[in-house]
């Protein structure tokens, strides 16, 4: 599932280029599939939660999973419908290993007129079967008049 690099570049301009916190964390969309999206955050010293272990702070994982789950809704609906996170549950399965990058895969598996249902896992590159965290989220869809968090054209 290799997405056209030019297409990814366009999506990244809307996703990371236009959203300050996504950009600040260094988030990059690395691949897009059928109703699913993969986003990476590179390991960075200022994102560490415990200086004794060098493990990334939980907040980094929360932001990555929230953003990736939201992006998967656009991939599923194939249009830039404005969304807002209703709730997000995250299970921390094991600590991220410093100094490795983390990748989140999110899948929007069901969408109604009002609500999108998403699940996600975060793992280290190349190890999708050894998740660091898993998540389940719901997103409310605004049909009109809302202001999208995902600036730009949806896949």
């Amino acid at each position: 599932m290799a997405t056209d690099p030019e297409l990814l570049e366009r999506y990244n301009q809307g996703f990371s280029g236009a959203v300050p916190h996504n950009h600040a964390l260094g988030m990059t969309i690395v691949d897009i599939g059928e109703g699913e999206v993969f986003i990476r955050v590179p390991y960075q010293a200022h994102l560490v939660g415990n200086p004794e272990t060098g493990v990334l702070h939980g907040g980094v994982i929360t932001a990555l999973m929230d953003a990736t789950c939201g992006a998967s809704v656009f991939v599923k609906t194939r249009r830039p419908v404005p969304v807002a996170t209703l709730d997000l549950r995250i299970d921390y399965l094991r600590p991220a290993e410093p100094p490795r990058d983390v990748v989140c895969r999110a899948e929007c598996y069901h969408v109604t007129n009002n609500v999108a249902f998403v699940r996600a896992v975060t793992f280290h590159d190349g190890e999708p079967d050894r998740p660091i965290a898993s998540a389940a989220g719901t997103f409310i869809l605004f049909q009109k008049g809302g202001k999208s968090t995902f600036v730009g054209e949806a896949p």
Partner: protein, 147 residues
């Protein structure tokens, strides 16, 4: 270099709550700190441009509000409990009630249940009015109380 727990102990003695949050690189970078206000421990997320998630509304990124909620649960456990390790989050469930505006955000945690290994903590976050909650979280954490 002293450990985080040493810094927590020192902060308890001196009342200098800002110092140990400064020892957490991510908290420093994001703008999260702990403060004692009217005798209670509050978490604070200072507004800065890099925590914006939606520039159109504009609104804070949900991940940054989640980070404040989780951090505030940990601050509360560090203060209330003589723990011999930094509490480890097992899971958290965040409800986003309103979009968080581009101003400072505060949070207060309440320990619902503290057992021998697990603590359940409820956290509320608000902005200029404590009555208007922007997000809540339920957090389960692994703890290790002193023997």
């Amino acid at each position: 270099m002293s450990t985080l727990l040493d810094q927590v102990r020192r902060a308890r003695e001196t009342g200098d709550y800002a110092s140990f949050t400064q020892a957490i690189p991510y908290a420093r970078w994001l703008g999260i700190s702990a403060a004692q206000v009217d005798g209670e421990i509050l978490g604070k997320l200072a507004f800065a441009d890099h925590i914006i998630g939606n520039p159109t509304i504009p609104a804070l990124h949900g991940g940054t509000v989640g980070a404040l909620l989780e951090s505030t649960a940990i601050f509360q456990l560090l203060w209330d409990a003589e723990t011999v390790l930094i509490p480890k989050t097992i899971n958290l469930t965040i409800s986003y009630l309103r979009s968080a505006r581009p101003i400072d955000t505060w949070a207060k945690a309440r320990i619902t249940k503290q057992g021998r290994r697990v603590a359940a903590v409820h956290v509320d976050a608000w902005q200029d009015s404590r009555e208007i909650i922007v997000a809540t979280a339920t957090v389960n954490l692994l703890i290790k109380p002193a023997e």
